[in-house]
């Protein structure tokens, strides 16, 4: 696609992981039977009033800090007025002129441009709407208000992305940061992370922005890339054929991999924002903000750098180990329990993550046990293969590594006298090969080691066997 530069900005809505909703004490948990997490407030009953959730504000402030934003000591809630069946009050409590935070940034690795810093123009707090289901009943819409009132933060970037791939990479980094600080699980399938994108194109070198469209209804990270690609292509085709791009909202259809305009008989919304009269200003003391700052864990980028420096790991490995906080913490647990850093890295990236993948991301073997297991391999008590078997047992049944190894009968013999005995047996039985080895066919070492393993029924420590063989075969 030559001759055009793509410009993308993203608006992300993230549900905060609180127990109760933003403005009432109903459960904010996902997945309950419809209309069972409701009360006068989130039902929008006459006379009900909002009561702000302190934990949601704390989560929001931590998010702003993790994204390097300026947190405003005073911000104001505002009403965004519009009518829709799943918006019980006929307005959403959000923030408008005085948001919680502005001017942050997030650096991420763009596939082609390397490290890119996206600007976070604003981050504000608001409440979620309920869900409208259009296919549940014929000719009618079903409304479930469980989600109405769940706390959200909205994160708005500048027009900083130059490709659909970049947009996706930013989102994955954003998800990682927000998961790290524990404010959300950022699950696009569950709807705890939702994205709307602004897309425009222009000629390279142009400083003015082209007319942008808004793309909505994108339900996974993969679809982010697809949807934005489709819209960009549509705009380019339109402009190349002499047409102009109209500012409108496009809905992505994953089934067809197409975008369609959201046609509406009405004019575009006039939300008539005004400050929420049912809520005083949101005032944050410096102590409050400092406390949230102190509660921030080490962020992914810093952790990755530290792993490289502290554990001598290559960037790629450090990136895998720090992708998620629980794995990173686990890895460090293994190292602190005594395992050697690189061996631990290989085990975690290999066996541990493979097992986790099949068991709902559970890290089933305790860090201390894995450290012990790694020690047994290092010390020659177990072969790597044997250790993998022991790992499997530890994962399924728990227990102690050495005990399991003994029960499985896989403890390697590292007693040099015993190994020497087997070596003698083998050398005596294969005198021709001994001669051949001594006349230069050193690749026969593998054969001898194999024979020692056979003689020992797999129990010999192959490294020890090889050392003894080398000594005995030396001319």
């Amino acid at each position: 696609m030559t001759g055009w530069e793509t410009v993308i900005g993203l608006e992300t809505h993230v549900q905060l992981r609180t127990a109760s909703k933003m403005f009432c004490g109903c459960s904010a948990a996902f997945g309950a039977a419809p209309n069972t997490h409701i009360c006068p407030v989130c039902l929008g009953l006459p006379g009900a009033l909002p009561s702000p959730n302190g934990e949601a504000i704390k989560h929001a402030v931590r998010a702003t800090l993790a994204l390097g934003c300026t947190v405003h000591a005073k911000s104001v809630f505002a009403r965004k007025n519009y009518f829709y069946p799943d918006l019980p009050k006929g307005y959403q409590i959000s923030q408008f002129e005085e948001p919680l935070a502005t001017k942050g940034s997030l650096t991420f690795l763009a596939p082609e441009r390397g490290l890119v810093t996206a600007t976070i123009v604003r981050l504000h707090v608001e409440e979620d709407a309920g869900k409208s289901l259009h296919d549940r009943f014929p000719k009618a819409t079903a409304v479930d208000l469980n989600r109405a009132g769940v706390p959200l933060i909205e994160i708005v970037t500048g027009p900083d992305f130059r490709s659909p791939q970049e947009a996706r990479a930013y989102l994955q980094t954003l998800k990682q940061v927000l998961e790290y600080i524990g404010v959300s699980d950022c699950d696009m399938e569950k709807g705890s992370l939702r994205v709307d994108a602004n897309v425009s194109v222009r000629r390279p070198g142009d400083t003015a922005l082209g007319v942008k469209t808004e793309v909505k209804n994108i339900n996974s990270f993969a679809y982010v890339e697809k949807a934005l690609g489709v819209e960009r292509d549509r705009q380019v085709a339109l402009l190349e054929s002499g047409g102009t791009v109209t500012q409108q909202t496009m809905l992505y259809d994953a089934k067809d991999n197409a975008v369609r305009p959201q046609r509406s008989k009405e004019e575009s919304h006039d939300y008539r924002y005004f400050p929420e009269p049912d809520l005083p200003p949101l005032v944050l003391t410096p102590e409050f903000v400092a406390e949230q700052q102190s509660l921030l864990p080490e962020l992914p980028a810093s952790k990755r750098e530290r792993f490289v420096a502290q554990y001598g790991l290559p960037q790629q490995d450090a990136a895998v180990l720090t992708a998620g906080r629980s794995v990173a913490d686990y890895y460090e647990g293994v190292v602190h329990a005594g395992a050697e850093a690189k061996a631990a890295a290989n085990w975690v990236m290999g066996e541990v993550l493979a097992d986790a993948k099949d068991h709902a991301e559970a890290l089933r073997v305790p860090a201390a046990s894995l450290a012990q297991l790694i020690g047994l391999v290092k010390g020659g008590t177990l072969s790597h293969q044997a250790a993998k078997r022991v790992f499997g047992e530890l994962a399924n049944r728990g227990g102690d590594p050495r005990t399991i190894a003994e029960a499985l009968g896989v403890i390697q013999v590292a007693d040099s006298n015993v190994v020497a005995g087997w070596v003698s047996e083998v050398l005596a039985a294969h005198t021709t090969e001994v001669t051949r080895y001594r006349t230069g066919e050193t690749k026969l070492m593998a054969f001898f080691v194999g024979q020692v393993m056979k003689a020992s029924k797999g129990k010999a420590d192959p490294k020890l066997a090889q050392r003894v063989l080398e000594e005995r075969l030396a001319p």
């Binding site: 039977a33 419809p34 000719k139 819409t141 409304v143 008989k265 005083p280 005032v283």
Partner: protein
């Protein structure tokens, strides 16, 4: 500074209020009367740039994050004009409107 019938119809659409064709002229007249009356505020000097006044507490006091819903004496099925299989039911959106992607 009067309002036109088009203004009133546009505002009525925003407010989701049906306005009777017959009632429109009187409504336009009354709205104009009221808006002309309140427009005298623009003649007042000295209020520009002043911080708006809102009574009440100076700052939000936070509610602890505990699941403790304020009770409803009856369930939504008893309140709603139309309720089926656990959902509120409304007629579908019109043919010219796509869902507000939420």
């Amino acid at each position: 500074m009067s309002v036109t019938p088009d203004d009133v119809l546009r505002i009525a659409r925003l407010a989701e209020l049906e306005v009777d064709e017959d009632a429109l002229p009187v409504l336009v007249e009354q709205m104009s009367r009221i808006l002309d009356y309140v427009a005298q505020l623009s003649t007042a000097t000295g209020s520009n740039g002043l911080r708006p006044f809102v009574p009440g507490p100076d700052a939000i006091r936070f509610r602890p994050d505990v699941v403790n819903p304020w009770p409803l004496a009856v369930g939504p099925d008893k309140l709603a004009p139309a309720f089926k299989s656990g959902f509120f039911v409304v007629p579908k959106l019109g043919q010219f409107e796509e869902p507000e992607a939420s």
